[in-house]
């Protein structure tokens, strides 16, 4: 089942029809001479199609149309797709977006496969998968022409049809037909898996044995299953083009291979926790356990074939400056957030940028406006603070609730991050600021008051802002979204845990069933993760990075839930093999603290979120934190006992 037949395509109806037509450069319309002249010397356009369109989001109304070309130069074939200028279905799609999608002359040597979809109803499209494993967004042929496209390709280079799926054409440029077959099956990701597993008697299917012999090199080939899955997965992914856009843009920005290698190296240094999983997910035979682990429907490792962009270095001052206009407005806040999503922010910029991310400053405010806001908010803070500062000891005696609240806060601020230099030592003034801000908040939002966990959320904010009123207002903004986590009836937490269970059911039903069987569907073992946004799971600086990423709300407000799933998925084999029960699971999850690879988990989470798509979004009830509350009225139940 592994060998790929080399079909004689001449018996294929598509092919036959097209070959009569010949190279179909005339197929498109509106060809202008300029477009020819823009091609390099001795390049020949062998195919041109107008109105080939991508759908950058799930919404068909948002689309970018362009021109698809096949160009031949020095016997090499290139594909390009250039969006039309200044014409966009939707204002939300900026020029920047268009640039992201543009496909500039990719050589077919870099293409692994083309999958065509020619439904009887609806638009035809193709998905082009690169040998790096990344996929371009589907190219919709609004005017038809998929058949001619494939045929033209076939006329200029060798493509073979996959024996498993007649709609998949494997592309490569090797002369030797056998090698050609091999290279078309080579998956970058599975090679690395094979490497990590080779020490533990990794064996391939019989046909893979051939491969190794022929290859002779140190690299091993993946198994057929991996390939099958990858094709399914690729498809799933490229359907959501929002995601593919990132990967596409990535191709042109940096050397993927290097990033990829760097990542692999990092992975091989990963904590021993992760290692068994890699082996397990690849080959059941090498697992040491008697308990069979249901396989992951998304086959996590293989999913990474189409991973989002590798994480980038944090946003630095020069790049930050390019986002601001001369008066200090952020011109493209969405683009900024996306940039931050992929790499975070350099530490020195955090004070400035967090205020925007948290919504304390409007992104379209000017420097001058912000100065004004700062002054107004500072005095407003002092007003609220004064409300409790002016309570005399005599008054406090008759104000039990105030005394209790104050007592609780004072007992807690001395138990918050005291091992950090910023908060350590007796009589540390920053600890006193924590207290003031929390107490003021409990007057600002008297209904919610103070609840444990809030000091954990405030601590990094004060650490970054280093200013009492500013920290207060940033904390207020954060609590707009996370406040329901601290409701006395825990409704915010329960809705998140509920959404989490729905998402796991969607994305990993065997794991869901396992939790069900073990009576763990309440997901209490994720309670701390969610309540304080993983603050206790990572070192402090990693938490800062994670938070700024989560606050971009890209690609979802609820990315934190996908982060939970990403972590669980990395441990799923261990959890199920060891037949963890509620108790052991809780302990196990607690002890993951400090052992989670943030970058890897974020990339997984992004992919899971995209994979879940609209079904994922539908699993999360409206108003689930950190979404803003559905109605604005009384958000926090009043409860006489609340502190």
């Amino acid at each position: 089942m592994f060998e790929t037949e080399i079909h004689d395509l001449s018996d294929d109806a598509d092919y036959a029809a097209a070959s009569q037509q010949g190279p179909s450069s005339k197929a498109g319309h509106g060809i202008s001479n300029q477009s020819y002249s823009s091609e390099p010397e001795n390049a020949e356009i062998v195919y041109l199609k107008d109105n080939v369109t991508i759908h950058p989001t799930q919404y068909a109304t948002e689309r970018i149309s362009g021109r698809l070309k096949l160009v031949k130069q020095d016997s090499l074939l290139f594909m390009s797709w250039i969006p039309y200028k200044g014409q966009s279905s939707n204002a939300r799609l900026s020029e920047r977006d268009k640039n992201l999608y543009t496909i500039r002359a990719v050589p077919f040597a870099d293409i692994r496969s083309i999958r065509r979809h020619t439904p009887t109803i609806g638009w035809q499209y193709v998905i082009v998968v690169l040998s790096s494993g990344l996929a371009y967004p589907p190219l919709y042929f609004y005017n038809g022409g998929v058949r001619e496209f494939i045929t033209t390709v076939k006329q200029h280079i060798v493509i073979v049809r996959s024996s498993e799926d007649a709609n998949v054409f494997l592309v490569n440029n090797f002369q030797d037909p056998l090698q050609r077959t091999l290279s078309s099956l080579e998956l970058p990701r599975t090679i690395s898996i094979a490497k990590s597993a080779s020490s533990s008697s990794f064996t391939n299917s019989p046909s893979d044995g051939n491969l190794e012999r022929l290859d002779g090199g140190p690299r091993q080939k993946g198994s057929d299953a991996a390939r099958d899955i990858s094709i399914q997965v690729l498809e799933k992914f490229s359907l959501v083009t929002r995601f593919a856009r990132e990967t596409t843009s990535q191709l042109f920005r940096e050397s993927l291979v290097d990033d990829y290698r760097a990542n692999e190296n990092k992975k091989s240094n990963r904590s021993s926790q992760d290692k068994p999983r890699e082996i397990v997910s690849n080959d059941v035979r090498v697992t040491r356990s008697e308990v069979p682990v249901p396989s992951d429907p998304l086959e996590f490792d293989k999913l990474s074939l189409v991973w989002g962009k590798p994480r980038q270095p944090p946003l630095g001052p020069e790049e930050w400056a390019t986002f601001l206009d001369s008066e200090g407005r952020i011109e493209d806040f969405t683009a900024l957030k996306k940039r931050i999503f992929y790499g975070g922010v350099e530490h020195n910029l955090r004070k400035e940028i967090w205020a925007f991310l948290l919504g304390y400053y409007a992104h379209d405010s000017t420097y001058a406006e912000r100065q004004h806001v700062m002054a107004v908010m500072k005095s407003e803070y002092e007003t609220i603070k004064n409300q409790w500062q002016s309570i005399s000891p005599e008054q406090a005696k008759r104000f039990t609730k105030f005394r209790e609240r104050k007592g609780l806060i004072e007992r807690d601020v001395v138990r918050t991050d005291r091992s950090l230099p910023f908060y350590e030592g007796d009589e540390n003034p920053n600890v006193h600021l924590l207290r003031n801000i929390l107490l003021t908040y409990s007057f600002y939002n008297f209904d919610l008051g103070y609840c444990q966990g809030m000091s954990d959320l405030l601590s990094p904010i004060l650490f970054i802002m280093e200013d009492e009123p500013e920290s207060f207002w940033c904390f207020v903004s954060l609590m707009e979204r996370l406040g329901p986590n601290f409701n006395r009836d825990q409704n915010g937490m329960h809705s998140q845990l509920f959404a989490l269970s729905k998402l796991v059911e969607l994305l990993d039903s065997p794991l869901h069933n396992y939790f069900k069987q073990k009576d763990c569907l309440n997901y209490f073992f994720c309670f701390r993760w969610i309540l304080i946004q993983f603050k206790r799971e990572f070192e402090y600086d990693k938490t800062l990075r994670l938070w700024e990423v989560l606050w971009t709300h890209h690609p979802s407000e609820h990315l934190h839930l996908y982060v939970c799933i990403a972590i669980l998925k990395r441990q799923r084999a261990k959890i199920m093999q060891e037949q963890m029960s509620f108790d052991t699971l809780l302990k196990f999850i607690n002890e993951l603290s400090g052992c989670i690879d943030l970058d890897a988990v974020l990339r997984d989470a992004e992919a899971l979120c995209v994979c879940a798509g609209e079904n994922g979004a539908a699993s999360i009830p409206p108003g689930t934190p950190p979404s803003l509350p559905v109605e604005d009225e009384c958000i926090y139940q009043q409860d006489d006992e609340a502190l």
Binding site: R411, D412, V414, R415, D417, R418, Q452, D456, R488, G594
Partner: protein, 211 residues
Amino acid sequence: MSYAYLFKYIIIGDTGVGKSCLLLQFTDKRFQPVHDLTIGVEFGARMITIDNKPIKLQIWDTAGQESFRSITRSYYRGAAGALLVYDITRRETFNHLASWLEDARQHANANMTIMLIGNKCDLAHRRAVSTEEGEQFAKEHGLIFMEASAKTAQNVEEAFINTAGTIYKKIQDGVFDVSNESYGIKVGYGGIPGPSGGRDGSSSQAGGCCS
């Protein structure tokens, strides 16, 4: 390390009474007043010896804040012993004992051994609950009682070990079916094999992370 028995303990009581400090004093023999407040639950473990048998205590240190109760209740399941802690310098933590007991009775198994601890007895000058009151409450509710200090370590060993002694005696007396894990007891390799035989004794070590 192998053990004859493994007992699951939980530590409960109001926030700030010193639960985490008691645990740390017992497992690490140190007083660390500035550690973080507890969210959810934390774990500790230590081996002790009773009747020449190695016994492993796996201790669940729960969060004391009222609003976390719906979560912390789920931790009672299968605990063999509980340390119910109040702070002798804060009257309200003593007043709340009844509600903690009610939770324990509802969510834990009926044979759970409960030790009442009046903590921070080093702060005698700020005492707000007398020793007699503590004794009285314990007597009324059938609990073992001790005053202790996580700071000076006074009675900390005793609190954990006496509780284990009581549980051990209950096993000897046949109160528990030790093969049934819902009692919070596991039989290890060095123990009296129950109907289900020996169990893994190497799985976890004190509070360790996966490093």
